[in-house]
Symmetry: C2
Subunit: 402 residues, 2 copies
């Protein structure tokens, strides 16, 4: 898995571009991802009731078998903007279809940025000729053009062997670390030259998303625009994989690894974040319990503030887990729990374990902080990722004005 694939490693039959159209106040803000042939496509989108038009488009078009392109515009979410927002999304797809010479219904859209304002689609239309001219096999410029308040691009790639044929996957993502409605949202786009049926694409994307993006939290808020798309064009020449094919497992494993990689990069680049927090729960009675406890700890403001302050405050960990397990109706018992911070046991079987607070406090200054909780009940486990809560988080979100 490489962060910056060289052009030769990029998926075959895919071309990418990232240009400036002026929707964002500065920098490249418009990305095109184009396949030279129809793709099987799957998507996972925000569960929020407030969905941007691009999310409705993705839901209607996937799973599908004839998708050709994705256009991503950064700087304007085009969400909660009424009928003008819906019209702008339609116009965007139509213009991109015309510029590429493909049916607009085969174009997926993704927008991110300020809420409540319709996309100034004419600016994107004016930039489309230069975007089409810039299309090339290197995804780097596109990965940079989808960002908002992110401090760095996030991409990863992998190769999967299918009966001796190498197929490539590339993923670009963004979050600003922040899963929030205003100047950022979580987006990820997987392009691959694997040959998948739409059902198979959908089948591998679901579990991969649930083990990656559904296990990160910056502030517990979801947005109108969150989405993850997977488009497979078959250009590798690998055999077509359908649901039930045992060879699909290797695809799911590779895809999950890529998405976890991007998810961790999103959490680590959270607004104001100085630490990636990895919470691993083991010994759970079910995966749902492990997941709830891990996410609950990762999203607790008190745990996040403690990590920011390098404070080995295990009580907050136990209490966050206890709250979220209780909400699930769990019968987990703290008298069986064990907690470790940065590998140091701090709580066992219902009572504190003596430890060197200065030593653990020093360990908490590392860029990645590990919190481990064993529930003493069963064999299920889950990991969730978050980031610390800093003065900069408050500054960014209080001082950013609509």
């Amino acid at each position: 898995m490489n962060d910056a694939p060289t052009p030769s490693e990029s998926p075959r039959g895919w071309r990418y571009a990232g240009v400036r159209s002026g929707v964002r106040s500065e920098g490249r803000d418009t990305a095109l991802l184009v396949s030279d042939r129809p793709c099987a496509a799957a998507a996972r989108v925000t569960t929020n009731l407030a969905k941007a038009p691009c999310v409705h488009r993705a839901r209607a078009a996937t799973p599908g078998d004839d998708l050709r392109a994705i256009v991503v515009v950064s700087g304007c979410a085009n969400a909660l903007a009424g009928a003008p927002g819906k019209a702008a999304d339609d116009a965007l797809a139509a213009s991109v279809g015309a510029a590429l010479g493909v049916d607009p219904r085969t174009v997926l859209t993704a927008t991110t940025g300020i809420v409540g304002v319709p996309l100034p689609v004419s600016r994107v239309e004016a930039a489309l000729p230069s975007a089409v001219a810039a299309l090339a096999s290197d995804p780097e410029a596109a990965a940079g053009a989808i960002l908002t308040t992110d401090t760095r691009p996030k991409s990863a790639s992998a190769t999967v062997d299918v009966d001796g044929v190498a197929a490539r996957l590339h993923v670009m993502g963004k979050g600003a670390g922040m899963i929030h409605p205003n100047m950022a949202t979580m987006l990820a786009f997987v392009t691959t030259d694997l040959a998948l049926t739409p059902a198979a694409a959908d089948r591998v994307l679901g579990p991969a998303v649930s083990r990656s993006f559904n296990r990160i939290s910056v502030d517990g808020d979801t947005s109108c625009n969150d989405m993850v798309m997977l488009l497979a064009n078959g250009a590798s020449g690998a055999p077509l994989l359908d649901v039930g094919d045992p060879r699909l497992e290797a695809v799911e494993v590779a895809l999950t690894g890529l998405l976890i990689d991007i998810a961790k990069k999103i959490a680590a680049d959270g607004e104001g974040a100085s630490h990636l927090i990895a919470v691993t729960v083991t010994g759970a009675g079910s995966e749902a319990e492990a997941h709830a406890a891990a996410r609950g700890v990762a999203r607790s403001n008190l745990v996040k503030a403690a990590v920011f302050g390098s404070d080995p405050n295990w009580g907050r960990i136990a209490v966050a887990a206890g709250q979220h397990l209780a909400e699930l109706g769990s019968a987990a018992n703290p008298d069986r729990w064990r907690i470790a911070i940065c590998g140091v046991p701090v709580f066992a079987l219902g009572a504190p374990v003596p430890f060197s607070a200065p030593e653990v406090s020093a360990a908490l200054k590392a860029p990645e902080v590990g919190i481990a909780l064993d529930l003493g009940d069963g064999a299920a486990a889950a990991t969730a990722w978050g980031c610390d809560l800093s003065y900069d988080y408050v500054r960014i979100n209080a001082e950013y004005h609509t």
Copy 2:
């Protein structure tokens, strides 16, 4: 309803004391609430799986008909402290029972403060003679002794007429505004000279708590020690009220008003808080939907940070509501929603409404900020309260060290 009742307005047959025993680093930290006769008692306690011994004691003793006293110790939560914590709670009840000359099983305990350390019960025992000597009808000293990081005491009182007999209710509460496990937790104690059966006490407490304390949030975290107790001693001479008695409704209304008053004071005194945020949801299809949307908006970090920054960011309100309604499986549709901030319409029927941002920003600087969301679906409504997210919240929770 008065914030500081004079002694003559306090419930009959009740005496209170607040003294220093040295569990907290400074100030009064030990409160006694004592009835001169057995009380009907009800309680609502934290749903967190991690429960302090005092919470288990309250669960075992309520509803009950022979309770005599409550002891509250501030500075040590006596939670997640293993067998020594359980022994300390038993010793506390036994010592208070002996000091008051009552059965220890009629003594309820409440502890709040640092987690993971057993209560230094000998310090409290040494202070008990002075606490007993200080018992008087004025609840003020006790209300001050239950605080941790709160900046001010929180109390309220009311009188209810039952067939021409005046009965009194008094409530003291604490929170540090913060519903969190380390240096604070939410506690409230209602003492009254009403005559209630234990079942009636339980019956009125439940709805009152669900409309008050269950609708405030400082940071979304619950603690090991949260509890609300209601003890009724009948000393007013009012007739005994049982479940099903129509006269109970006036009691429930008065109690709900008192608890909402304390809940709002807790939210307004949240750690680092500079604004109380009141979120009112109307037009909901069910009370559950109204409640979920109101709580979801009140606890959103992004909404809280926007209020701190006086930013009329209605997108964050819509998106927080959309997320929490979706989690409930609601079919609410943003195309029917209306949002107002400080009384100014900002969003209607799926699209933004033009408004003066400087004017709303100026209104957001008031100590109490109102957010209104109408879902356009039905007749159900709910209000939730929260506070803003400030630099001081991060400072208090990052710099407080275990």
